[in-house]
Symmetry: C2
């Protein structure tokens, strides 16, 4: 690792002591390329990182992310849609990614638009492109999902991912979304997939073929063809990542929807409810409980054929670096840390934490050779999973003590059992909630010890001198 220059160290202290009211990361040497790689672990709060560390490296081990030289904390900020002067305490990926991408605070579900008055907010990727930087988004989710979308699109609801989802569409299980005002017919920019197909983005990699197989609004032509007409080369296989043409933009979609995750519980097991005895159900002071059996994590067979996030990140960096004399902005998301926590699947979370960590290694290796590269790693919001004692702290007491949620007891490679509890929604309901907490921010360059999520936008902008 390169030694920091003295002026950077002083700057670091100055920032940390609050002397710099506008955040000014180290100025780039003129004529050098300036790059930003923003890596987002969706839902990756400190607990989720710890779950990954305990399994992947052991309690005493270190992930690549743990060795980042600078660390801060981020206040996640969300406002009410109907009264944006009022805060609420738990975010979703749409409003939090919009904060990082635009510097604004908005309401849940919004993609690159403001709460209540629904104005488009200019994103860091758009500003970078205007100033001659190459830009890219990489995600293990649909590339139209909330986090990547917030960097490149503007629409009132995250559910409006393709042209068929714009008007009174059922996003899922009875939830209706409506982005009528964003349709091209009414002068809007269209769905998220259309905005990506129409845009000037150098790299788009991830999942979501199903959204680009839809016809464009009022056109008998699928969106991947629209993208090809707009000078995107369109790839769908991992091996094609090695053969991309630097003279064309790159759209790579490797799965119908969210990319399958790398790891799963033994034989596909997820979390299970502790089973209290009949007596214990009647009175918590008597009877006992049967806990779920411990399990190992294993490779998810559905992951076969998928590119690793590491490989997508490497391909994106290479493509972006080749396509701009100024440098680039790249957002990389490990999306399913969040999605697997929603689904109570800690093994899935762990594998996606590993994917993030490997991608960070790729970014750090690039930054070693390209020192004007700012790397930021952060989360957008907290997630439900909690590590609990395996066997209650109070199990010397003569009563059955067990978590109220769905539980996994994971056998870690160091031979211990890590108990993970998910208890934010009823057992039958299939999805856990997000949580409200500050989230970590890691960097290869000096950052403030604490900042708000919209201030991440300032760090990005200042590094690119936009």
């Amino acid at each position: 690792m390169k030694h920091p220059k003295v002026f950077k160290s002083i700057l670091s202290a100055a920032i940390a002591f609050g002397m710099a009211t506008t955040l000014q990361p180290a100025a780039a040497e003129s004529n050098d390329k300036r790059n930003v790689i923003l890596i987002i672990g969706d839902g990756m709060d400190d607990t989720q990182v710890t779950i990954g560390r305990n399994y992947l490296e052991g309690a005493q081990g270190r992930l690549v992310i743990d060795n980042m030289p600078y660390r801060g904390a981020v206040q996640v900020l969300t406002v009410h849609e109907n009264d944006p002067s009022k805060f609420i305490y738990v975010a979703d990926s749409a409003n939090s990614a919009t904060s990082m991408a635009t510097g604004a605070i908005t309401s849940r579900g919004r993609i690159g638009t403001s709460a209540k008055d629904d104005k488009d907010l200019t994103t860091i990727a758009e500003m970078a492109k205007t100033s001659g930087f190459a830009t890219g988004i990489v995600s293990t989710a649909n590339v139209t999902d909330a986090t990547p979308a917030s960097f490149v699109a503007h629409v009132s609801s995250r559910g409006c991912e393709n042209p068929d989802m714009m008007v009174n569409a059922e996003a899922f299980a009875g939830v209706i979304v409506d982005c009528s005002a964003d349709t091209k017919a009414l002068g809007g920019k269209g769905s998220i997939a259309e905005q990506i197909a129409d845009a000037d983005i150098d790299v788009v990699l991830g999942g979501g073929q199903k959204h680009f197989n839809k016809n464009a609004e009022a056109m008998p032509k699928p969106l991947f063809t629209v993208a090809q007409d707009n000078n995107y080369q369109y790839i769908t296989k991992a091996k094609q990542l090695a053969q991309v043409n630097p003279n064309q933009k790159l759209l790579g979609l490797f799965s119908e929807s969210t990319m399958p995750v790398r790891m799963q519980g033994e034989n596909g097991r997820g979390s299970e409810a502790p089973k209290p005895s009949f007596l214990n159900k009647v009175d918590w002071r008597v009877g006992d409980v049967e806990m779920p059996a411990p399990m190992k994590c294993e490779a998810n067979p559905e992951f076969e054929g998928m590119p690793n996030l590491r490989d997508m990140t490497a391909a994106a960096i290479s493509h972006l670096d080749a396509r701009s004399a100024n440098g680039f902005f790249l957002m990389v998301e490990s999306a399913s840390i969040d999605k697997q926590s929603h689904a109570r699947k800690p093994c899935g979370q762990i594998g996606e934490m590993q994917q993030l960590d490997e991608s960070l290694k790729v970014a750090l290796d690039f930054a070693k050779e390209n020192p004007n590269t700012l790397i930021l790693v952060t989360a957008d919001h907290g997630q439900a999973a909690q590590i609990l004692p395996d066997g209650s702290l109070f199990n010397a007491m003569p009563v059955a003590v067990y978590p109220m949620g769905m539980v996994s007891r994971i056998i870690t490679p160091e031979g211990q059992i890590m108990a993970v509890n998910y208890a934010t929604t009823p057992h039958g309901f299939p999805i856990e909630e997000h949580t409200g907490t500050t989230v970590p921010l890691y960097s290869n360059q000096p950052i403030p010890a604490m900042l708000t999520q919209p201030e991440i936008f300032n760090l990005l902008k200042d590094h690119l001198q936009l």
Copy 2:
């Protein structure tokens, strides 16, 4: 705030980049007093800090702790009692405070002793005293409780707080502790209270009169008298803090047991279980749920007459500063962030977070005038409370979605509702679990971006040049 010296900045970067294998905070100017103030928020992980911030300062506001210039993360490490080569993933306050106090990793429940072989581990307070520093412990818990005890005592179980608790004693509800080997009769140092009474500690402030009202082992004399014989002045009232004699050590115990907390829920309310309808109990897809009514926080009448943690901290600093030409080591604990989270009382947690924050302000003010003062603020382990959306993220779906735990819906001063969920044990069982997570570390001086909990001991030791 003073500007950092350039060498400190460079040192900061060096530490952050992992260039310094032994942590070397800024060297003290010779002949100057060197001081350490270690502030521990028991159970104060990032979520618990966020609960405090949302209520006390608003979502966008900042606590004093949030403005600390340096921030890192701490790996909490715990081993099995019977096989100390094996890690477990959730700590208690005894083993984690012992890590910070001694640099060792031990098993849950142990106070200043090693796992399995039960050896006494020298504490930072003992080392500091030997080198001519004044030393003190301040806590809102019993001063014999796990966190303060780990800095000044050595015993195999945290339950052995007084002479009557040493041999086959019931610590609580059927849980038996036994520290026979630590009795003076068998050549041990006695209970925690006896060790404090016998010790050369300049300041001991907190709760726990009941432990010092017990007679010393095999003596017809209460421990507070033993302490007085050992040159402690013994005080029990807040107002006495203003009139202490600097020529005597100070033992101040202001309550029978844990000090009452500053805040409570409206009319003493704690968390309550959501009430699903009969239909919903039968099938989660139908029926509805009644959530607990929102509530404000209010002053706890039992707190009246208690000294604030701020006042105890100020008195301790003043007494310690007067009693040593070399400087001092002080540990201050806001204990009931943890205890109120165990009891599912977020308003209580918030008040104790405020107490910690006020005490930190006192420490920072002292450090302004005494720049060789290292202030560290950290937590010992995670706690159960989670901030959830008030109204599920999925409440557009036509089913009742609610947390599985006990819930408080707190009306914050900025007029919003913060929902806090506790779901790590059955509703009838009165105590929540700790959680496994990295915890935050804050400092007024450069610290590594990440370190293990035993390495906190190194930071303390190196600053005092022990």
